[in-house]
């Protein structure tokens, strides 16, 4: 017996419900502020969450060798094949070291707290819709993804991923001096 697709999507929805709480009352002037050396801003973590879901659920092509800001080149999803576009869908958000080593673009820095929170949910909804259009089998390889990951494993990972980083969003706010509704 195992969970069905709707169970995983429901858990993912819970994650997105919680993540939006992390943006409540956040002053936009703090959105892109790194709280300390070596730590990412709330906007950057949001970008990472969005990137992580979009490249898994909404890309047309499998992994390929692509230019990497941090490593020169590496094997990972090609964002150019993603069916979604957004200021949050940027290679610099792929992984912590390269996010840390590059500054957000002017377009990203211009986004307000409300815009980033809205964009994060919009990307999630569109990525899930893209996945559902492919009518995925939970235990078959994820459509458009060449690593030996099934749809089930990918959804389990994404549920973990958003929970993990939501905790960190609250931590950034605490370091920036905010009192939050969750901790």
């Amino acid at each position: 017996m195992a969970l069905v697709l709707d169970d995983y999507l429901e858990l993912l929805e819970q994650g997105y419900f919680e993540v939006t709480i992390a943006f409540e009352g956040l002053d936009s002037t703090k959105l892109w502020r790194r709280p300390a050396a070596g730590l990412l801003s709330i906007g950057e973590i949001a970008g990472h969450i969005a990137y992580g879901e979009a490249v898994r659920l909404a890309c047309e092509d499998p992994l390929r060798v692509v230019p990497s800001l941090a490593l020169g080149e590496e094997i990972r999803p090609d964002l150019r094949s993603c069916t979604l576009t957004s200021p949050l869908l940027d290679e610099r958000f792929a992984y912590y070291p390269q996010t840390l080593s590059t500054a957000p673009t002017a377009a990203q820095l211009a986004l307000s707290t409300e815009q980033v929170a809205t964009e994060l949910v919009r990307i999630h909804n569109a990525a899930v819709a893209h996945l559902l259009r492919a009518q995925p089998e939970l235990d078959a390889p994820l459509p458009g993804w060449s690593l030996p990951w099934t749809c089930r494993e990918t959804l389990k990972y994404l549920i973990f991923h958003i929970g993990y980083h939501t905790g960190q969003l609250f931590s950034v706010r605490h370091l920036l001096g905010d009192t939050t509704t969750d901790n």
Partner: protein
């Protein structure tokens, strides 16, 4: 419906990750609060124990304790790394034992919490989600003090 083995495996994995993150942190951060606004590592570990105990009780039908008011803070005797780890280990073992002791049917049986109707399998998934959320925060503290390595094996 999810199997007991799957639910148990999810909780066990999340407990193991949290344990490794806790172990990787140095003594000096256990009683330190991020920005003066967050719970300390010891506080987080203590809250994890309380949540695991409360949820475990709701799954087995044991009497529930009243949930503390306000943000959870660890008692003085659990603010050292050694004590926090020992308390975490004890509750992790108890939590897993509670799940092991329940049959598939018992895990599927409806239970009611303050948030509404649910069942033991859903509660197991909540336990894992809650642990992941706070694992992210432990890793954040770890990075803040200059350690950006993964400690999960």
């Amino acid at each position: 419906m999810e199997s007991k083995e799957s639910a148990l495996g999810g909780v066990k994995s999340a407990l193991g990750m949290f344990r490794q993150d806790l172990e990787a942190l140095p003594e000096e951060v256990f009683a330190r609060s991020l920005g003066g606004k967050a719970r300390s590592v010891a506080d987080i570990a203590y809250e994890i124990n309380l949540v695991n105990d409360h949820v475990g009780r709701s799954m087995t039908g044991e009497p529930l304790f009243d949930w503390p008011k306000g943000w959870i803070t660890a008692p003085v005797e659990l603010q050292s790394k050694e004590a926090a780890l020992a308390a975490f280990d004890a509750m992790a073992e108890k939590t897993l034992a509670r799940i092991v002791g329940l049959s598939q049917e018992a895990l599927e049986a409806p239970i009611t919490t303050e948030h509404g109707p649910t069942n033991g399998l859903e509660r197991c998934r909540f336990l894992a989600l809650h642990l992941w959320y706070h694992s992210g925060q432990l890793n954040f503290v770890q990075t803040l003090i200059g350690d950006d390595k993964w400690h999960w094996s």
